[in-house]
Symmetry: C2
Subunit: 254 residues, 2 copies
């Protein structure tokens, strides 16, 4: 089972324009710092947060309990001009887990309700043990530096990366998996329940359809930190072999 947390800034839309529109640069700084801050706190407990939409962030949080979530909420309230609410859900697939997390939070009120504030809505938690593993694929574009960054304009490269993201998302979501951009030419896909073959098929399809070559290190562990690290080692294996393989799976031994 994978556990996911939805973190939502309370009533943020209206705040951004009250009493008049706030400078865009200040909103960007607030959002980026809030993200870095949440990342630090969840990572401390071996979770991983994705920036997602910045006002709505998704995290893989296996092993992180109610008290941990409450402490993070309080710490944000004490230091920011905004508060955050959270929903938590655990399920067999990442898509189902974030859906349960979202529904739990939505039941407590809308994102722009001035009455809903600092809610922690827990649908379900996945205990951190050998029965509750996280699987994640770290996907990157083959040789992005040579084929894009160093020869195309910065925006055109960005456009290609965004295109790869959109194709990956579209295909993964159908299989109950998620896909997050993590910078550069890199994506992280929480993907419990997907076989190595299913992931390879998606990469092959995208290469056929839009000519972007991808590879995926796939990691399995009891928490997101371990799964992501195993996935990184998988990517390194593919780079070391240098023979056109698409995927490499590593399960952490405890």
């Amino acid at each position: 089972m994978i556990q996911m947390t939805l973190i939502q800034i309370d009533n943020y839309g209206p705040w951004t324009v009250t009493p008049r529109p706030r400078n865009e640069s200040d909103l960007q700084i607030l959002q980026a710092e809030l993200y870095a801050d949440l990342e630090r706190q969840f990572a401390n407990k071996k979770g991983l947060v994705f920036f997602t939409r910045f006002d709505n962030l998704l995290a893989v949080t296996n092993g992180i309990d109610e008290e941990d979530h409450l402490r993070i909420q309080r710490s944000i309230r004490n230091r920011y001009p905004i508060t955050i609410s959270m929903g938590v859900g655990a399920a067999e697939t990442p898509h189902e887990a974030q859906k349960l997390a979202t529904i739990a939070l939505q039941k407590e009120g809308g994102a722009q309700s001035s009455k809903r504030k600092e809610i922690l809505a827990i649908d379900s938690l996945a205990p951190a043990d050998e029965n509750n593993l996280v699987q994640a694929a770290h996907i990157d574009i083959n040789s992005v530096t040579e084929t894009l960054t160093d020869i195309e304009s910065a925006f055109d490269t960005n456009f290609m990366v965004n295109k790869a993201q959109h194709y990956l998302m579209t295909k993964l979501i159908k299989k109950g998996a998620l896909l997050f951009f993590i910078g550069g030419d890199n994506f992280m896909a929480p993907c419990n329940g997907l076989s190595e073959k299913e992931i390879e098929d998606i990469l092959v399809e995208i290469n056929d359809e839009i000519g972007i070559g991808l590879k995926a290190g796939i990691g399995v562990g009891r928490n997101m930190e371990d799964a992501a690290y195993m996935a990184d080692l998988g990517l390194e294996e593919i780079r070391d072999h240098d023979n056109g393989m698409w995927t490499w799976v590593i399960e952490k031994e405890y």
Copy 2:
């Protein structure tokens, strides 16, 4: 003329896996904090940075000169484990400006060259005066809270926002404009040279093609801060009128 700066972390790819893969959470924190930091420094001079790919960031920098860029580079070098190089270009369209900026930097060496370090490559600058205006559209999805955030799962909403982004990018790039996601359901499009009608046509097309309703406040000013603020006021006008209009242009008076 619009002036754009490409900011690129020097030799970052190899650094992320040396001597072995660094924890993904640490990379996320580094990237988000670097972005917030650059935003603060460029915004101080009325520019605006977009996170783009995090290792490659694009900024609109009208009115920001060589010395300003050098000071920012030095300040990053003193406080981070990485250094940054930059390219700067000015042109009639944003796409052309970032292309000139990219080419200037690429001439000095690749993104993963261990020899290229802290380069400032200036192709051209646009003086901050009445002849050099920045035009930017702040685009957002109509009623995203009611139609998506409060009823769909967080990832499905994110997917729709990403879809809107991909369609917007595809259409704007053909007209020499750029498109950046700035969080929530919001996008910023530096778009010198585009008429209000051309922007409206793009929004209408996207509504027809994928059923996502968008609106755009369009701002014009001598620097990006002013243009973005005028664009925000334009969005507020559309909200106040509440009669299905697509765009509203405001030019700042000096």
